[in-house]
Symmetry: C2
Subunit: 400 residues, 2 copies
């Protein structure tokens, strides 16, 4: 009955089964675009900069006029004028003359280098002595050096960072076409659950997963939509799942920690769509269910918050990124393990860690405890069939 | 006249001069709290869980009833009933009896262990045989195991992650007291600047820094407030800075890439408040100014976007975190350098890098180019007086 897969196999299934959701585009103002995903390549229609700019405060010159000069034998040039910031350099420059320019300002067409003020002496009466020669191109950013017409300045799938926002501003793109955020529906089931606003009676606990997963999927770039708590009842689960499938792109049902209740979720998925797996060979997270209904991915997550969080990080995050068509990198580091970890009996084990000065401190506890997650930085993976890890070995820590 | 400091000295000045802004508190709903900073310690008023819970589906037992049993000599117990999920375990359990419990459900007070279904045989008629002994405490999460009354569940200054949101939900905290976001005013100056919506003429460029820094300071957890572009004019700078100081907690003035214009900003700060430094011995970012007016920190950032970004990342981000009283960690990794870097002549040099499979690719170019920032992951620092770094050496990459 059970159809248990390894984490790698689950990742392959997710990649094979789901594609970007029609790349639905949304046009938004640049100041709301941080963290959003570019819909298409940004091809520059302009040269940036649009003119030859000086990189320093100094004298725009014809480089050959300075060849061979030195402090003892300066090259004498006459100052033909000054180009103010923001002004076009329409005046001409002829051999033997120079113009005063500022950092970032335009240089005259005929000039091909800039001499810094420090390397020239002002003799007064419009005459200066250049004490250090410059080669053509020195201290100039040429038209199109930064971006040329036709360049791909940013490619489709880029998750926009502050510097990307800077690049878009430079190109004059103030309305950006981004991919619509996928909507992730979050459903918690459990006869023992009460909303976080309530005081639980004996035998009851507050629903942790809905608010936690809401925050998690928002941080992945999705739009989170929560549903009311439902009881462990097949009819109720079916009704809520089917209405969630109508309005969401991904549905997460968490809860049902007992085997009987997990079966309800599996049964609903199997009867309304296709059950792709029933169990993942990992710890925590084993009782995870995954399938699809009307082509929409549905996760049955474990009820234990730590397990639900880990499965969401490992599988829901990449799925959100697939639906967004986003190119993202996962950041990691290596650290020394602060204590030995015992063998894990054939299942990949994911252990959250706190990092302190290059040391990874595993945070462990009984299944379901959430307080231990305070202050954790990422997780390590202990491979299947690993006989345990010794204290002090180097481990790869993936940041949350 | 110049008062140039090393980056370390600048960090010390920032830490010495500025304190959290009166810890102004704001009460917000939990679903808006991701990334916000906790105002005070969260001390639990409850035990979590509030009752002894089973970690498995099975039989709640008095452990001593199972001692010495085995598959060949099972311990025979009578099933006194079942505790359903969400129900209180008010029924009593006496020696020689057991009760059916579900994962996460309450166990009877007298029970002190749970035997998994797999380790018992159902003989029917309410009798079972336990085939594996359990020790007291086995398969139970005790009342208060996760968080006990009086525990500090989360401490003041925590920047809330999805799992922290989970911890708050578990405690029933649905309105959270967080620190008010500091307001960062962003001013760009420059006679050559036009708004990103405009098409620049010759000699003009679009303002990149305002939108870029707006996104950057928002990502640090501050509220960004932008001002209209101003010209390189002391009176205009003075007027805008003084009105920004009234309504902002930090003011960033970027632009003024030429020495003369930088002096205008320095003069405004010196005359209206105190100029703390005029230049940082780093590359890029040397022409940075820092001071305070009416106790408010003011940065004069370089006009070059890359330099402005780096200075903002290195000094404005920690200042925002100081004003928030936030405890944050900077994530880094080590990577092999893809190419040799030459010496940097006595200034710390910060070079942005792209990471690919453990290799750090430095992104360099002429000062002021921004297109190269597309896709960078973090930066490396080449120390002062370093004679250069060889290809293949290990470098520390700090993630953006």
């Amino acid at each position: 009955m059970l159809n248990v897969k390894t984490p790698d196999a689950v990742t392959k299934i997710i990649k094979a089964q789901f594609k970007p959701i029609d790349f639905q585009v949304e046009s938004i103002p640049l100041n709301a675009a941080l963290g959003r995903v570019l819909h298409h390549d940004i091809i520059s229609e302009e040269d940036i900069p649009g003119f030859n700019r000086s990189m320093v405060d100094g004298y725009a010159v014809i480089a050959s006029d300075t060849f061979g000069c030195s402090e003892s034998i300066p090259a004498i040039l006459s100052v033909a004028g000054e180009i103010l910031m923001g002004e076009s350099a329409e005046s001409t420059l002829s051999q033997g003359t120079c113009m005063i320019v500022s950092t970032g300002g335009e240089i005259p067409d005929q000039a091909n280098a800039v001499v810094m003020f420090e390397h020239a002496e002002d003799y007064g009466k419009g005459m200066i002595g250049i004490q250090k020669s410059v080669a053509p191109g020195n201290n100039i950013i040429f038209k199109g050096d930064d971006v040329s017409v036709g360049d791909i300045a940013l490619s489709a799938g880029t998750k926009l960072t502050p510097h990307d926002i800077g690049i878009l501003s430079a190109l004059g793109i103030t309305i950006v076409d981004v991919i619509k955020k996928p909507v992730v529906g979050i459903i918690s089931t459990g006869d023992e659950l009460v909303p976080p606003t309530d005081t639980p009676g004996r035998g009851q606990v507050r629903d942790v997963n809905t608010p936690m997963l809401l925050a998690a999927v928002s941080s992945f770039g999705a739009e989170a939509k929560s549903f009311d708590l439902i009881e462990d009842d097949e009819k109720a689960i079916r009704k809520t799942v089917m209405s969630a499938v109508q309005i969401c792109d991904i549905v997460l049902i968490s809860g049902g920690s007992s085997a009987g209740v997990r079966d309800l979720t599996a049964r609903v998925i199997a009867s309304e769509g296709e059950l792709l797996l029933h169990g993942i060979a990992m710890k925590p997270g084993k009782p995870t269910i995954f399938g699809k209904i009307n082509g929409k991915p549905i996760f049955g997550l474990p009820g234990h918050p730590v397990a639900a969080y880990m499965v969401t990080e490992l599988f829901v995050r990449p799925l959100v990124e697939i639906l967004l068509g986003a190119k993202v990198k996962y950041y990691s580091t290596t650290a020394k393990l602060s204590e030995a970890l015992s063998s894990n009996h054939g299942r990949e084990e994911y252990i959250v860690v706190r990092l302190e000065e290059g040391t990874a401190h595993p945070v462990r506890g009984k299944s379901g405890l959430i307080a231990g997650l305070a202050g954790v930085d990422g997780y390590i993976c202990v491979p299947r069939d690993c006989e345990g890890l010794a204290k002090g070995v180097e481990v790869k820590v993936v940041y949350f």
